[in-house]
Chain length 221, copies 4
């Protein structure tokens, strides 16, 4: 079993809970409220820019020149996706540029992006990558599941279709391959840190969806 | 009004809510449950090590050699405090080294420490310092308030007394002086970022106390 | 006069010395020894990977999402250029993959790349960008000059032609525009640091060419 | 043989060249020109502040809380030493605060400090430490050698005596112990990077002394 397969298996129960989360079930069924979807999209856009920054830091730490290319491109892609959201889904769902600009990060989004940035900046390359993996991998698998379950006439069908993009799945497989390679060469303390970083991100991924469903906000505001 | 006084005033309502939080009121009254205090102490110890790391990054970015000394010493102090907790209050309240080692960071502690690390690593020196300020300043002021209100026979009196340490208050004044100096020299976009970083930390400070009171844990475990 | 134009003017004499350097004069004349050109190409390839890493760090620090895209793409481009060298000019001039792998960085290349990395990691976004500018700008201008002066039958003509690429010049103009924008918003201490970082890189750029001409190596080996 | 002993042995020839360098021989004999000593002291002061910054970054990356304390203290010590130079030896040898402030870093000092900062910021904790080791260890050993050889009436005797400080040697032993521990736990690619970082710093240490002896400056000024 490869290192990444081991991570997947160790976090299988959390993945199942993620699939079963009402946000994802209702998105597939097409019954998710528009408010929750809007909340999610805005936070997703905030998230993607921070994700791009964390990927750029990982690019800078790559052990091989190929990794600089791989993660600089991923950083670029993350922000390009964010730009597309504004001109596509956000417009379709009535979120103006100003709505976006004046909606702050929720605690869940701020927590997840803070962790990704902290982890990419302060940890070694393998650990940085492990923290970045769930957003690629869990997102791709949840997306595939939602796409397969999506009901006819789903108002979110265009969004759900983006999950099935072969280009995205190919990128995910390439990231997994890089992480397996660096994990195989890493010492055991590093592999333990990698598993911890992956776990934190997988949990924060669940909390991100849950926060969108709860439409949570700062208790301090 | 100095830059830091401006920050304080802008966040006055949140400070008042922090003073009024049941955790702090009950700590002053001596009625806080031992479980909540234990929970708090363990998270505080986790927090201090991360705070020391974030301070060390700020030291590395200091605009003047004096700042390297100021924040390298603060980093050292944070971890020395953490060491003292283990040999002092933790022992007194029956928390073994193993209890501590096996108690993971709560979401509130993980969120706050992730933010401090992300902010110190990725932002400029003035913004890094602004994020580090609430833990110095709000903590000192809340402590002074609790110390003043503490009831006779308070089982937490020894802990409450540490808040009154003149050495700690002198360090806080010196940090404020440094931040006022760098804020005065900074451009307006930087001052805006400083205010945002301060606000986030002030909110996460409140959420840290609230989490201890709620004895919160990961919804994903 | 824009901020970047001011930098250019302040360093005009050094630019003139760079144009007049025998390495560049002989490259234009076609009289440069193959050994010196080989030495240069190998160090250039080493340089480009480090330059890509430094650009990726700058991308992570960008004040706007557009900057993440701009510098993540530049990071990608730098390493893509390095890859092309191996399959193109290096092959044409008889440098095998093994020749490259076993040729260490010279002191000049190690000095310049160390500075770029140190500056990108430890300084604020505007200062990081200013350190990265000379390699874009001076290189483009020196290249334009060499291209204009190149003699018929120049054995380095294919190399010299790459300097004239409109795509490269467009990228340089976009970088200058970003730097002018952030410099305009920056405080005066930051602008002073920007000028220092630019100056160091401009000097290290000259020393890089001079080192190739001298075929310099470590005095300690 | 411990990891660090292995590093020492692999770089034995360079160490011998460092001992034999005219700067060190003349310092021991008391025949070094005052100009060369002044040049050295000024660059040493510049160096120490950057060294303190690089140590602070290493502190932030420490794998254990003890390492945060160890290297935050070392960062503090480096700058405290720099402060002492100004009030002690610099005054004794007629270097005013303004002389110092207006003397820029030489290429050798700029190269070495850029490398230390780049290495501490961009590399993992073990590699960061390995780059910081030569300044502790080689300096301590060279100092012991010079102290043993110093001639009666040496005008630099007070300076030479600082090398013999048991406090400094104890700190060096503690750093070696930490590096041996992390090297023992590290994978082989990390140990290779550690050896490379150590080698670069050892070479830059020699070049720093050589530059002082040559009273070198920027060829671009």
């Amino acid at each position: 079993m490869s290192f990444c397969q081991g991570l997947w298996q160790a976090n299988q129960a959390l993945y199942q809970r993620t699939l079963d989360h009402p946000f994802n079930r209702e998105l597939a069924a097409g019954s998710l409220s528009v408010e929750r979807f809007r909340h999610y999209m805005i936070q997703d856009a905030h998230y993607l820019v921070a994700y791009g920054r964390a990927l750029a830091v990982a690019a800078a730490k790559a052990d091989q020149a190929e990794g600089v290319v791989q993660f600089a491109n991923a950083a670029n892609e993350a922000v390009v996706e964010e730009r597309k959201l504004h001109d596509g889904f956000m417009r379709d769902f009535g979120i103006s540029a100003q709505d976006f600009a004046t909606t702050p990060l929720t605690p869940a989004c701020h927590h997840y992006t803070s962790f990704l940035l902290a982890n990419s900046w302060s940890e070694s390359y393998p650990v940085a990558l492990a923290g970045l993996l769930p957003c690629f991998w869990i997102y791709a698998e949840v997306g595939r599941d939602i796409h397969a379950r999506s009901q006819p006439g789903n108002p979110y069908q265009a969004w759900v279709d983006t999950y099935a993009s072969e280009e995205f799945h190919a990128a995910v497989r390439a990231v997994i391959a890089t992480i397996d390679r660096v994990a195989d060469a890493a010492d055991s303390a590093t592999r333990t840190r990698m598993a911890e970083a992956y776990r934190y991100s997988a949990e924060l991924e669940w909390m991100f969806w849950d926060s969108a469903y709860q439409e949570s906000n700062w208790p301090t505001r």
